[in-house]
């Protein structure tokens, strides 16, 4: 199953245009700042907003002429949009019933989905009694219940408490991985896009500014927005305790010293994610003196100039992207092949502790 979309949607005075395709079992993230038109695009694909021009094809078959109820697109809306007068179970059974299943079969199917995606939530409860994270789980179950061929998640983590995010992110990862068909993820959070998607479409002011794998965009962001948000250094690996308040994050290509996350038991942890802003990495011609815990040497692989900033990609251990002013890049005569020292403080590394660890919080 392949989804191809090339549409132009009018939203007030603004025209949002996007063309992309999502392959079978591929997760495509639509990443962009609030108001960029991401939701407009997916709602148009679902048929909820008419497109001014364009086509939407599923395996080459046009679906843009169909009303929303006949498009096989399952959407988990931002904030859930659960029906307030129906119970959790009735919400999830709704699309099954709408597709013609009998009440009893629909309920059984809904209970099964809820058991897998939202265990511990009373199926008889009304949505008003649920937390943000619970609502999102039910919305996810409801989106899947109608057996859609394309799964769309619209800002699935935006209405969720920080404390519940890690666990929900893991559930989203599993759900996306197991869904048999194209998957679209709408988000303004680069970490979500980078960790959950196979490919990322960057949308700004109603236009696509870049499309590529997370690595491609991280290495060569084409706009200021992409550079600031997506062009982050991302580390993933096993976290082991060092001395009090610090830990060593062992990634596949190097070790990073990080602050120990608050409220997490001092034990080794797997699957820890961490980000580091490129502007927090400083470059030096000689080995730097000072308090920075992380000091590595590496060869400059690429220098990209974005306005008055230079993004410098280093072949170091771990690999790093640094952002410095063009002035200091000139003073240090940085170009491809230059050997430089890079340093950054442990406290600049932001940790995201994945599930498992959440139990010990």
């Amino acid at each position: 199953m392949v989804l191809e979309a090339g549409i132009e949607v009018r939203r007030g005075d603004v025209i949002v245009a996007a063309a992309f395709s999502a392959g079978d079992r591929e997760t495509l993230a639509l990443l962009g700042p609030n108001g960029a038109g991401k939701t407009t695009i997916v709602e148009s694909i679902a048929g909820l907003i008419p497109a001014a021009h364009g086509h939407i094809l599923l395996d080459g078959v046009p679906i843009h002429g169909l009303p929303p109820e006949r498009r096989p697109i399952g959407m988990a809306f931002q904030d859930g949009v659960l029906f307030p007068h129906l119970s959790v179970l009735e919400n999830v059974a709704f699309p099954v019933r709408a597709r013609g299943a009998r009440s009893r079969a629909a309920r059984a199917h809904a209970l099964d989905l809820l058991g897998r995606l939202a265990p511990g939530i009373d199926p008889g409860a009304k949505p008003g009694a649920l937390s943000g994270g619970e609502r999102q789980r039910v919305a996810l179950a409801r989106a899947l219940a109608g057996a859609p061929r394309v799964l769309v998640l619209d800002e699935p983590l935006s209405a969720v408490d920080v404390s519940a995010r890690a666990e929900l992110r893991a559930l989203l990862r599993r759900t996306l991985r197991d869904f048999d068909g194209p998957r679209l993820l709408v988000t303004h959070d680069p970490v979500e896009a980078m960790t959950l998607a196979d490919r990322v479409v960057v949308l700004e002011d109603g236009r696509i500014t870049q499309t590529g794998t997370p690595e491609e965009i991280r290495d060569a962001p084409r706009t200021r927005y992409a550079a600031d948000l997506v062009g982050m250094n991302l580390f993933a690996g096993r976290l082991t305790p060092l001395e009090a308040g610090a830990g060593a994050l062992e990634t596949a290509d190097g070790v990073v010293t990080v602050p120990w996350p608050d409220g997490v038991a001092v034990d080794p942890l797997d699957d820890v994610l961490a980000t580091l802003g490129p502007a927090d990495v400083s470059l030096h011609a000689a080995r730097p003196e000072g308090s920075a815990r992380n000091v590595v040497q590496g060869v400059v692989e690429e220098v990209a100039i974005l306005g008055d900033r230079a993004r410098v990609r280093l072949d170091s251990s771990p690999r790093l992207v640094a952002e410095i002013t063009t002035g200091s890049a000139g003073r240090m005569a940085i170009q491809t092949g230059t050997l430089v020292w890079a340093s950054f403080k442990a406290v600049e590394v932001h940790l995201m502790v994945e599930p498992g660890a959440a139990d010990t919080l």
Binding site: A46, G47, E69, H85, P95, R99
Partner: protein
């Protein structure tokens, strides 16, 4: 601040508090005392309502057996039920249209609805009478509708005018407060337009519809001006009967039957509240809906 000063300030605040509370109680007494008087006088055994002559059920006995009063009450109830049905159906659809299909004419239609609300009832009454007489048909003595008196049709239509405007505004307010994305979500979840209306829109607007129906019912029940103008002999509602009775002397049965109608209205309110509770609304929501607070 010394302790003495603080004490004085506290006492002053207490006094203000007591003052405001007593004032509030006085306002409620002022509002409800007339109703209490009617209820008390409905048990008056005297010949005229205002001359008290011992407690008894004479008023109720006469009220329930007098054929003229029976007819008037029956007319009132049938007119109120019919008005509620007619106004609720028309007003609900108008409210949906105004809330969900906005266009450049929406403001104009809303202005028309408000115009109905502010038009003096006496003007509407005269206009209706002229219009009914000129139209004839179901509004005239040669009505083609069998089994229903043309006087009743006149009451239904006349009362529905104002009541429909009220229902329209209540339903519109409720739907505007409801996120349209709920209906969009239902559309995405394979629900056809008919199913979306039945399972999402209708249950969500039900509180407003019921509150509107209730208002339409009670508006019709106590309408005097339009009824006086358009009703015909043999189909005069209770307020018209009372109004003409004032010219002679008000008898206790007027108070008794009025008390019964008051009870009927309270029962109607209670049953709507019960339906709303059953449909899963919280008591706060129910109270809000019943007071047309959204």
């Amino acid at each position: 601040m010394s302790a003495v000063e603080a004490g004085r300030k506290g006492r002053r605040r207490d006094l203000a508090d007591v003052g405001l509370r007593s004032w509030a109680i006085l306002v409620y007494v002022f509002l409800f005392l007339p109703i209490l008087v009617i209820v008390v006088y409905s048990f008056n055994n005297g010949r005229a309502m205002i001359t008290w002559n011992g407690v008894g059920l004479n008023g109720y006995r006469t009220g329930l057996t007098d054929p003229t009063i029976q007819d008037a009450v029956k007319t009132s109830i049938v007119a109120a039920v019919g008005t509620a049905v007619m106004a609720t159906i028309l007003g609900s659809f108008a409210g949906i249209a105004l809330a969900r299909r906005k266009g450049k004419w929406t403001i104009l239609f809303l202005a028309l609805v408000f115009l109905i609300l502010v038009t003096p009832e006496i003007v509407e009454a005269i206009a209706l009478l002229l219009w009914y007489v000129r139209l004839g048909g179901p509004f005239g003595p040669h009505t083609p509708i069998p089994g229903i008196s043309y006087g009743m049709v006149r009451l239904w239509v006349g009362h529905s005018l104002f009541a429909t405007a009220v229902v329209t505004l209540i339903v519109r307010a409720r739907l505007q407060g409801l996120d349209e994305t709920l209906e969009e979500a239902a559309a995405d979840l394979y629900a056809t337009p008919a199913r979306r209306f039945r399972q999402i829109t209708l249950p969500l607007m039900l509180p407003a519809v019921l509150a509107g129906a209730l208002l339409a019912f009670s508006f019709s029940l106590d309408d005097t001006i339009i009824s006086s103008f358009v009703s015909v002999a043999g189909a005069s509602p209770w307020p018209v009967y009372v109004f003409s009775a004032v010219r002679n002397a008000l008898r206790p049965e007027v108070a008794s039957v009025s008390t019964l109608l008051l009870t009927l209205t309270l029962i109607a309110i209670a049953s709507v509240a019960l339906v709303l509770r059953r449909s899963g609304q919280s008591s706060k929501d129910v109270a809000k809906t019943m007071t047309v607070g959204g």
